[in-house]
Symmetry: D2
Subunit: 135 residues, 4 copies
């Protein structure tokens, strides 16, 4: 899987990601990174980037990490996701870095660190999610 | 709290909800309901409404349910949220119905059923979330 | 499924439940109830019943609720579980009431209310979990 | 904090850990490790170590990791915990390694890898949890 292939898939099949300002940043074995490009449009009172956007970002990062083992699987769907918001996410791009921890025939699982661009050691949120791979 | 007051708050302070097609449907003591008005724009391959939209919908429903006890608290923020996707959400409006289970001085907790409009007994997802109330 | 059948299964196959003071309280369609019989032995500083015991209790309640549809499936295993502790659990029996929300060929999902005996409207914890049904 | 201090606290205040065969294995800055010493007593059909024991193990590991920053806080309590079971845990000791990701005045958060002794790269479960620090 190359980054260009993943980006082409997102452009063709997940056009809503562009509206959410979410793009694929990197893919490597067991790793997927997604970027939220900061815009005031997705903020809420206090200037916080809204939680829904960060959850979508985490979800997308897991999707990419999974592709690093499975190839592109358009019909894979999220089984469950959970996220803890740990610090304010304000005024800058956010990166979500997903690490694939297991992939079987039917299920993939990854955990995800979210951090402001340039502050990888100070996460703003932590998530984990599992995906269902179609039969 | 009246529904009109909550809607006025959303219009003024959470304009991104309109972009996500999320609106307040109902508020009652310990109860908050949010609606996603179906549009193809937020779907993904297979016609599924994308998970990020449903997570944002669940999050908003909890926000409304909390308001039923706390009044409008613009700076309350989500601490953590988790969701299980149980059945396909395709081609129709989705409602998220949050039930407030506890509210203290600092923390509120609710669980949420998500279902297709008209099919309340057959949930498409279940979520729960806690919010932090500012000091 | 009768309560006696479930209890016989627990006695024969899950002897550790007796050590945890966990027993089957009730089974009905889509419903499973488990009881923790209070003992100081499983408490921690402050007199709180320890979280591990309550997590085991929630897990067992889901197992029972699943049996109401699947019959006894000894090799079904927990996929994932999450729990929020909402109020102190001190000095009395705790009941966990699981409601089965979905069961497919391979996966079952339930949410669970935990409450002190006699205080069903004031939950001490809320959990949800999914089980994997063997092929 | 030394390992001996933590162990002395567990012996004095959390005697149920001994019954669960859970002991403190290591403590270092932002890190806590707990061990489950294998015994058939806590297994279930199929020989699996039961989920409740692994959840208690994860919970304890987070408690230890928190102590590395806060010192011993007997009355800190678990807010919420979630766990995914990824591979069978059978027939050997299990280690839970918690990494503290944030600690504020009131809340601490850690994620946890659980693995069979000697197989740190092949986790059997992943958890995360937050604790409430008393005022």
């Amino acid at each position: 899987m190359t980054l260009d292939e993943v980006r082409a898939f997102f452009d063709a099949e997940l056009p809503f990601c562009r509206e959410l300002e979410i793009t694929c940043e990197a893919i490597a074995l067991d790793l997927g990174v997604a970027r939220f490009s900061y815009t005031e449009r997705w903020t809420r009172p206090g200037g916080f980037i809204n939680g829904g956007t960060l959850m979508a970002l985490a979800d997308v990062a897991v999707f990419i990490a999974m592709f690093s083992r499975s190839g592109i699987v358009p019909l894979a769907v999220t089984n469950e996701l959970k996220i803890n918001f740990l610090r304010p996410a304000i005024g800058r791009d956010v990166l979500a870095e997903a690490r694939l921890r297991k992939i079987g025939r039917r299920v993939a699982f990854a955990d995800v660190d979210l951090f402001m661009d340039g502050e990888r050691d100070r996460i703003v949120a932590h998530a984990s999610a599992s995906y269902h791979l179609p039969g």
